[in-house]
Symmetry: C2
Subunit: 317 residues, 2 copies
Amino acid sequence: MTGEQRARRYAVIGTGAVGGFYGARLQQAGRSVHFLARSDREVIARQGLDVRSKDGDFSLFPVAVYGDVREMPRCDVVIVALKTTHNALLAELLPPVLADDGVVVMLQNGLGSEEAAAAVVGAERVVGGLSFVCAHKLGPGKVDHLDYGQVTLGAYAEGYAPQGVTAATAAVATDLRAAGIAVEVAADLLQARWRKLVWNIPFNGLSVILDERTNRMMADPAIRTLARALMEEVVQGAAASGRTIPETFIERMLEHTQNMIPYHTSMKLDYDAGRPLEIEAIYSRPLAMAAAAGVDLPRIAVLTRQLQFLDRRRRGL
Amino acid sequence: MTGEQRARRYAVIGTGAVGGFYGARLQQAGRSVHFLARSDREVIARQGLDVRSKDGDFSLFPVAVYGDVREMPRCDVVIVALKTTHNALLAELLPPVLADDGVVVMLQNGLGSEEAAAAVVGAERVVGGLSFVCAHKLGPGKVDHLDYGQVTLGAYAEGYAPQGVTAATAAVATDLRAAGIAVEVAADLLQARWRKLVWNIPFNGLSVILDERTNRMMADPAIRTLARALMEEVVQGAAASGRTIPETFIERMLEHTQNMIPYHTSMKLDYDAGRPLEIEAIYSRPLAMAAAAGVDLPRIAVLTRQLQFLDRRRRGL
């Protein structure tokens, strides 16, 4: 990774709500940011980026936006903010844009992102990223940031051996903090990913299956009981991977969800828009990781099967 | 129970699809049948009963229909074809209509029906009934019989001790067979109830949760896998009650469902009509019976919680 002699140059691969939000914050803080967009490229080139945010609205113009990675400059930090359902494209997207000593930050949900990137660029150049943000795309280049925004970073190594704080994670954390983002660097990336699944597994799935927002689900005693039981299975899955998540974390997540503003999860937004659901990353891989350690997670398996059916039906498959 | 000196007199409590179908068959075969109906009473009194059936349509007029059990004659056999969600009414409905030596046939789904009737009339006067019929109500006094039709009867005793074939079950079986109904008398009622749950637990719940018919669910590999896993949990629940259901029965049910005509389950029809769902009988009681024996059925518990939420939301509770 390039040292301190010049500001780090960023690429954002996938300019949806997440990529648009963090990329805009970095550019607003003075970093050089290069955005990859597909269908939205022309509108963003013409109008820039608009962020409506609970921390204050802002607009950026001009924005360096590209429709093809081969037109982009090589970047020190490549933030991948695609849906995991597009990770088959990484082999084509990453090599042209990554500087020789650059790093890739996989800002995605679930499990499997780092392995997918490592297969293309090597494990030593991969950083895991988890965003805790309520945001959605209002239109091309238009992001609505409703709540939260913090990021957790963690260096990746094959088999998820904990790496502590590395030069790369520290450098990206510095830039994000300068852009006003709260950042935690996790010593153990896999534990951070399992912790995030404690929320994602119950609420992403149930929001699609029950066609409901978080607040209405949390208001129902049956769903509170079910969400807790699912969270306990996630904790068992983490334990099967040798990661301990304390019971108090479950309490904290439930309380936190009760106090969230009414919210459609990212999976619900994908479902309503007819996009493929991130079932593989959020459900199938955690199940497979636990199963490889001999641990059965039956409640999570039920949600997985229901979601697979709904996803196929919604997309006419 | 009255002997052979005169034909047995029947009451049908609840003249919906199930009560209307079996009651009409009995009357068609020459039995004296007295129907209790609530909102449909006037139409049935005026127009009789109409059965559209895959075995041949038929109509009955006149029909002895009542709006109040206190107007009905005392009957040798009282067939209760109410939804289980109305079983709180049994204390009021059964005593006026049951002859001194009569029996009550609880033609209902799930578990708990016999206990509810026994609390009113005594266990020795209760027979369990299971109907395997695809039928729905087209309107007041109008039944559409799509497929199947067989009935399983089993004498009840406290704690579900197997009773073999009793005089009462043999007598009711004789009358139903004379009416063209295939009847099996189960020596062990509780085993028969668990066997029926092997189908009802996966397909009633999933049809509501996924808003889908049986054929479309069975066409999906994820739902076939889930249905099988749920059936295996029902078999574990039966085992916890000391009842053995062979693995081949699961295969038979899956194959059978694949070959059924496209079908909305009774729970889906209830849901779409805004009626309360039979969650207690089909889900909560089996779960509780297994839990009392120390057996956890986590997949069934997930469906139960989802259904409780959907039922409350649908009815605005």
